[in-house]
Symmetry: C2
Subunit: 254 residues, 2 copies
């Protein structure tokens, strides 16, 4: 793990890092705490770890909840090199949008491909943060849209994550993996989502194996999640990530 | 409005009253405030205004949110006389349950009938509370299951109510009225509700005319709404009932 830059503002320490060629950012409270939860923040499609919306939200998590937050650029996003598949996706997206065609299936296929690349990266990040003693408390996950395409398969294989905010996604591939998710989940759904058919979102929520899961649905399109849901999902994570990290999991992981 | 009894405990004043033959309860903070919201609390089927669960929740609203709360016994509930229709419903419910038959349609038909009787009673209550200067701030509504069967048609005709918690209900009759509801709504849905088919609950949420509405769905049966939803719905009401009452509505109502 190589620290590229470090700065502190408004009580938040921001460290831009790379792990091998993998770029990411770690935000921590200037005054760290013993049981400080860590939230893995997976950005949406077209964003990156230092996009203004991501930074605004992660700063809020650090300052109002006392979380540490770690984000990675998704494959093909931010300054990461774009593969042939990445370029093919963008070209396909543009041509479909120009033709006024639906893009949901196209996005879902691409996100599944990104997810296969991203899941091992998030596990490597966790291994690395543990190896440098940067994990003090419980670990949560925040990721909607592309973040959920990555989050569902990540949660299915990663026992160190104990609660997750997901949503704005749904397709048969994700629904097939979802029964293996068992941690408490807050699931955001936009009732008039132009990218995700309502029934596909409801089916993904239904398929989640978690005994404790809550669907929050609001009117509006894919990008119109009400601000109050952000505050509410922060409370959800704070509730589930309070206290010391489960020793049985942290001992066996790595 | 005749006060039958009045007592104060833990900072809550509880007044049991009748309006003509209509029995109800008004809970207020011992220290009332100028903009104090009023929440109309419509109990579920088989309950009544002084049932222990109702009293526990309304006390919480008074002590933690500073609301005044008013509840009425629904027709045929509590000590109110049971009509032939009421007796017919209970007998039909028992025989269906003994035969292991579904009861959802039977309950929905009866609730629609109760609702036709109850809506004018709630409006009379509001008129009466205004006439004795007991309404200081904005007015909200809390009612799930039977409370929603009453709440949807009440909200459709009653402009004095400015926010509502609804849920645990859904049928074609309610969905037909729901487009006339326009205030912010929190809608609770139990994913495995044995009385309300999931699609019927989703369809009622969909049909609500409110531009601002949020569905909260959780796993479990009709009576298994998680405690955290109660705290969350209190926050929802507190957010929407803060501030002075809209003068345009209070002036024209009655």
């Amino acid at each position: 793990m190589r620290i590229i830059s470090e700065k502190t503002s408004n009580g938040v320490v921001e460290r831009v890092f790379t792990i091998n060629d993998l770029p990411g950012v770690l935000w921590t409270p200037a005054a760290e705490s013993i049981d400080q939860p860590l939230v893995l923040f997976a950005h949406g499609g077209g964003q990156h770890a230092l996009a203004p919306k991501v930074v605004a939200r992660t700063h809020q998590y650090v300052t109002t909840c006392g979380f540490a937050v770690a984000a990675l650029d998704a494959p093909g996003h931010g300054d990461r090199p774009k593969s042939e598949a990445d370029q093919h996706f963008v070209a396909g997206l543009r041509s479909r949008m120009a033709a006024g065609e639906p893009v949901g299936d196209h996005v879902a296929r691409y996100n599944a491909e990104l997810s296969a690349r991203a899941v091992p990266e998030w596990r490597l990040l966790l291994d690395t943060l543990e190896s440098v003693n940067a994990v003090h408390g419980r670990i949560g996950f925040w990721g909607v849209s592309l973040g959920t395409a990555i989050g569902v398969p990540l949660l299915a294989v990663e026992p160190r994550i104990t609660a997750a905010v997901l949503g704005l996604a749904g397709n048969a591939g994700l629904a097939a993996i979802a029964p293996r998710v068992s941690v408490p989940v807050r699931f955001l759904l936009q009732w008039d989502d132009e990218l995700v058919p309502r029934d596909a979102g409801l089916a993904l929520f239904d398929a989640l194996g978690s005994p404790e899961k809550t669907l929050h649905a609001n009117p509006g399109g894919h990008a119109q999640v009400p601000a109050v849901e952000m505050e509410s999902s922060a409370r959800f994570l704070a509730r589930h990530l309070a206290g010391a990290k489960p020793s049985s999991l942290s001992a066996g992981s790595g």
